[in-house]
Symmetry: C2
Subunit: 337 residues, 2 copies
């Protein structure tokens, strides 16, 4: 073990605006040997998420920021190469907070075994992972979507958005996705079965929402914030629910976040806007995984990952999220299984 070379990507500076390569340090070392209760995991796939931008900032949020000098936090899937815990054995595939590095030495209690026979490993970073859990509990628990509702989701071709829309369809809702560009719109409409898709880059959002949501929006699942949130607020139905999952349009702001001008629509429509963080539902993940795995097996729920190879590409690959260039869940392949 003590001879395994490890490349770690550590936070070197707190970025202002868009992160750049020099905000991280590429550190070569030797993988740490596991102590009692720990395992050494070879990292295969890492999840790249919009939330990472928030973790780079100083200050209070829903989890502590990454400290300067620490490996950049990331969830990932890997294979156990050494274990000093009865919980996992060499050869097991596991999910955990593996961070942006080639090898992770960490407490085995924080690892979850995953089965590549049930679904490809990358699906555990997507539909059967955090984005899937976020979509499931955000839509059904926070958004209280029920059959007959009109559901609108932004970031519709992103990891969370495409699952939100598919679950809503399965539950009998009318689903309108908002995405950037004709290719993404065609995909969510034609491949994923959304009732309509709006290209926010080329269409008038207010007009398109009027057309596709003639009776207003019952549930708006917001991943983007900014002008899209405002347009959806202006189109709420009575007693609508707005799920605040993220605000990718605002994460790299160097000025204050733009608040939603149309928030008084909440008053007019007796509507609710509620924030969510998926970790709160940890105890209920198995229930969601069971139902979602069933839908995958029945062919009702699709998982699409945008896999980029090479740990060294991390800084540039992460930026695809903020440029809207990813198509499906963005995954960094550190090593092939």
């Amino acid at each position: 073990v003590s001879t395994i070379e490890n490349l770690q990507i550590k936070l070197a500076a707190r970025p202002i605006g868009m992160p750049k390569r020099s905000d991280w340090e590429f550190a070569h070392s030797v993988a740490r040997e596991p102590e009692d209760g720990e395992a050494l995991v070879k990292v295969l796939y890492l999840s790249l998420d919009p939330a990472m931008r928030g973790w780079m900032n100083e200050g209070r949020s829903y989890i502590p920021p990454v400290r300067i000098g620490d490996p950049m936090r990331a969830g990932g899937v890997g294979i156990v190469v050494a274990s000093k815990s009865p919980a996992v054995a060499e050869g097991d595939y596991v999910y955990g907070t593996l961070d942006i590095q080639q090898y992770a030495t960490l407490k085995a209690a924080g690892l979850t075994k995953v089965d590549p026979k049930v679904a490809p490993l990358t699906v555990y970073l997507n539909v059967l992972g955090m984005p899937g859990m976020t979509a499931y509990f955000g839509l059904l628990d926070v958004g209280r979507a029920v059959a007959g509702n009109t559901v609108v989701v932004s970031g519709a071709a992103g990891a969370v958005g495409m699952t939100v829309g598919q679950i809503a369809r399965i539950k009998g809702c009318r689903v309108v996705g908002i995405a950037g560009g004709p290719e993404k719109c065609a995909y969510v409409r034609d491949e994923l079965g959304f009732d309509a898709a709006i290209d926010y880059k080329s269409e008038d959002l207010n007009g398109a929402l009027r057309e596709h949501c003639p009776n207003g929006i019952d549930v708006y699942f917001d991943n983007v914030g900014g002008a899209t949130l405002d347009a959806c607020l202006a189109r709420l139905a009575m007693h609508a629910r707005v799920v605040i999952c993220g605000a990718i349009s605002q994460y790299n702001n160097t000025t204050a976040v733009t608040g939603p001008s149309n928030y008084l629509s909440l008053l007019v429509n007796r509507a609710t806007m509620q924030g969510m963080v998926v970790f709160d539902y940890a105890k209920r993940y198995p229930e969601a995984v069971r139902e979602m795995a069933g839908w995958i097996a029945e062919g009702k729920l699709k998982s699409r990952e945008d896999v980029v190879k090479g740990i060294d590409t991390f800084p540039e690959t992460l930026l695809k999220l903020f440029r809207g260039e990813n198509f499906g869940k963005l995954v960094l392949e550190v090593a092939a299984p």
Copy 2:
């Protein structure tokens, strides 16, 4: 009847920004005789409310706008001078949508009898009227305030705010009021028993909220919007509830409403922001009136009205609301009882 002179104040123009006298027409006519099912009511006291500004605008809201040429909508208390309905009799005191005029001829079914022996007539426009109902259902039903919660209310010396704070105290909450000026702050703290009061005109709101809400805000009852809403959002406790009742700081804007920049605090704190309109609770008013009348009788709940005499002063008196000059419920006295 047909010889009773009536002064009506009718909407003449849709204001841009602050309303001015010329936005209304002062029309002299003769009171209309009641038809079957109607009553003729002599107007005594009229309720002046921030919401009136919204009713003057064109466009969709929670109730239709006042039409140009129609008497300005207002709730009020009066005495029946003639009736062609078994529901009310000459000499009855009644509450209803009497509008800004000296005499109202309207369907008796829309009137509610009030008893000046239970409370002074003006209290039926305040604690036992719409502001009281708004405070009661907004705080307890939408805000779900319970004993031990920290409750913050803006517009604390206004009609809704002072009742919100008093009910919260009765229910065992810690209450912080935000008001403008030392006199209003002293009143809500010393006379109404709020735990603390913040003068937003002279104090640093963020610092004062940190001081007075060391464990964060569980319920924020918002009457004002703007910078105050943002400061309170920044101080939410986990699972906080924000009640959007109004946004008086924004009603006379000639530019877009300022949205709350700190709305992502809803996400971090898994908090909820919900709009309310009191009319939705109409069926439950009797339950609230019963409980509130009991508190008044026990001396636990005070009602304070700011009574201005003379229907002719209506345009200027209304503006007191938007200048923060009223102290308690703003009431226009059209005639003494």
